[in-house]
Amino acid sequence: MINSEQLTHYVFAVRTAILANEADIECLDRDIGDGDHYINMKRGCEAIAGLGETLTKLPLVDALNSIGMKLLSTIGGASGPLFASFFIGMSKTLKVNAPDSAMHIAAAFDAGVQAIMQRGKAQAGEKTMLDVLIPVAEQFNSLAAQGKSTQEIAVILKQVASEGLESTRSMLATKGRASGLGERVIGHLDAGAKSCQVMIHAVCDQVLNDPSNQPSP
C-alpha cells in the first residue's frame, strides 16, 4: 500500500505545502502563541527533506522512525516532541502490522495520534493539533474498515481535516501556550491544527494525483 519511495514523495509534498502556507501558519501562532510555529515547521521539513535518498533506501518502519528521531532533534518547542512521537508511534505499530492494507495504515496513523495524546497529555477539544488529528484518525479507521477506495478516503479525510481545523476557532485553549490567554483565544484558529490540516491535505492530494491510485477505468 505504501513504501519508502512514496513516503519520500509525501515528505516533499508536505514541505512544499508548509512553505506555501507560511503567512497563515505564522500569523496564527503570533496571534495567540509566540510566533515560532511556522519556522519550527519549516526547520523540521527542511531537515526531513535533507534525509531524502537515505529515507528511500530504508524499510518503511525505519524510515518513519528516522523521521521521528530527526524531528525530535530538530524542531524543539511543543510541536517537536509531538510530531516526533507521531512518527515513532506509527513506526512501532507498522513493525507489528506490515502496511499491506488501508486498515493497517489507518491503525498506524491512529497509534501515532495516540502517542501525541500521551506525550502532550491532551485530548480533543483543547484547541490543539489534536482537533484535526483525532477526527482524521477516527474517520480513517472507519473508512478503511468499510473498504473505501484510497481515492474516496483521501477526499473525505481532507474534508474532515478542514472541519477539525475550523472547530478550533470557537474553543478555549486548555493546553499549550495559548492556555494562558483565557477568553482571548476565542475566534482564532490553532496554529498546530493549521499545520496538520495543511500536511494532511498535501498527502491526500499526493495520493489523489498518484496514477497507481487511480480507479481502474
Partner: protein, 332 residues
C-alpha cells in the same frame, strides 16, 4: 525589524560564539548538539542543567558557572531545545551524583526535557518552575508559566548543589522556592522574533499588556496605560493575592526582583522598584534582598516583571553564597 544580524539562520550560533569568546574563562560552547558548560567541570556534585528557548538572555547560559548551573541548553528563539542537547550536556557535566533539570513550565520545554529524562542513563530529577501568577492555575490549563523566578531557583539550588547535597535535597529546595515565589509581567511593547521579522503583537501608544509571559504571548488583558504607580499597584496586588491563594503568609522577609524584559531602561526599573518596595512594605513584607536589572528577558520587549520570593534562612543563605557566572556574580 531592525537588529544587528547577518542571516537569521546564523544569529544564534554567532551570538553563542561571541558569548563563549567573551567569557572563555568561565564557559565553553559545544555545537551540534548545542550547549554551554562550565569551563572547569565540577566534581562530585549533582549536575544542574537548565535550558529553554533563546531570547531570554542572560537566562540560562549566563547562569552557568560556580555556584549555579553546570550547563545550559539554548533552543532556537522562543523554542524549547531538543532532547539530544540535554543528553549531550548531561553526558558532559555529569559528576557521579545525578542530574537535576531545571525547567520552566511550558509544554514544549516540559516535553523535550521529559523525553531527554526518559533516555538519560543517570539518576535524575526535574524541578519545574511555575512562578507566573498571571496564569490562573487550574486543572483546565497546562498550568502556570515559569518566568523570572527561575533565576532564584537556579541560584539557590546551584549553591546547595555546590555544597555537596544530594539529588533529592536539590530537587526539594527547588520545589520549595518555586512554591514560595510569584511573578507577574507587563509589556509596553511587543518583542520581535528575528525569524518572524515583525512584532508579535500590535499595540497602540496608549495601551499595555498586563500579565505577559516572556515570549511575547499576549497577556491576560489589554488595558489603557496609566501612571506607573497604578500599574505597579495592580501587579503587587496580583502577587499578594497569589501568595494568599498558595496559603503563604503575606508578611515576612522577601527577595524582590524587578526584572526588565529587554528594552526597559534601568531608570524605569528603579522607579518600579521604588513603588513596589513601598507597597510590599506597607503590606507587611520586609525586603531583605533585592535584584534589579535584565535577568530574564523577552528579546527586545519594553516591559518589566515583579518577582517576590518568600525567604527563609535556608533560601537566604543560598542566595547570599558566592556565585560566579556571567549574569550574577558576588562573593568571589
Amino acid at each position: 525589524m531592525k537588529k544587528f544580524l547577518n542571516h537569521v539562520d546564523h544569529m544564534l550560533t554567532e551570538s553563542l560564539s561571541g558569548f563563549a569568546a567573551a567569557h572563555h574563562d568561565l564557559v565553553e560552547l559545544q555545537l551540534e548538539p548545542t550547549f554551554i558548560a562550565r569551563k572547569h567541570k565540577a566534581q562530585n556534585k549533582v549536575a544542574l542543567i537548565s535550558g529553554g528557548g533563546s531570547g531570554h538572555e542572560p537566562l540560562h547560559a549566563g547562569y552557568v558557572g560556580k555556584g549555579m548551573l553546570d550547563a545550559a541548553c539554548p533552543g532556537q528563539v522562543f523554542t524549547s531545545p531538543t532532547p539530544d542537547q540535554m543528553l549531550a550536556a548531561a553526558e558532559a557535566v555529569h559528576a557521579g551524583q545525578g542530574v537535576l533539570f531545571i525547567v520552566k513550565n511550558y509544554a514544549g520545554d516540559v516535553m523535550n526535557f521529559e523525553m531527554a529524562a526518559e533516555m538519560l542513563p543517570f539518576a535524575h530529577a526535574t524541578v519545574l518552575t511555575a512562578d507566573d501568577c498571571a496564569v490562573v492555575n487550574s486543572t483546565y490549563t497546562t498550568g502556570r508559566r515559569g518566568v523570572a523566578g527561575t533565576v532564584i531557583v537556579e541560584k539557590c539550588v546551584g549553591s546547595l548543589a555546590e555544597s555537596g547535597a544530594d539529588l533529592a535535597s536539590c530537587k526539594a529546595l527547588g520545589d520549595k522556592i518555586n512554591q514560595r515565589t510569584s511573578s507577574i509581567g507587563v509589556a509596553l511593547t511587543s518583542c520581535t522574533v528575528p525569524a518572524a521579522g515583525r512584532p508579535t503583537f500590535d499595540i497602540s501608544d496608549s495601551e499595555i499588556e498586563m500579565g505577559v509571559g516572556i515570549h511575547g504571548e499576549p497577556g491576560r488583558r489589554r488595558e489603557p496605560i496609566r501612571d506607573a504607580d497604578a500599574i505597579i499597584a495592580d501587579m503587587v496586588a496580583a502577587i499578594v493575592h497569589d501568595f494568599a491563594a498558595k496559603q503563604l503568609p503575606t508578611q515576612g522577609n522577601i527577595l524582590l526582583l524587578v526584572n526588565g524584559l529587554g528594552a526597559t531602561p534601568l531608570m524605569e526599573l528603579y522607579l518600579i522598584y521604588n513603588t513596589a518596595a513601598k507597597l510590599l512594605t506597607a503590606q507587611g513584607f520586609q525586603i531583605t534582598r533585592s535584584l534589579v536589572g535584565n535577568y530574564t528577558t523577552a528579546i527586545d520587549m519594553a516591559g518589566a516583571s515583579l518577582t517576590v520570593c518568600l525567604l527563609d534562612d535556608e533560601i537566604q543563605q543560598h542566595w547570599d553564597s558566592p556565585v560566579h557566572t556571567v549574569g550574577l556574580r558576588w562573593g568571589c
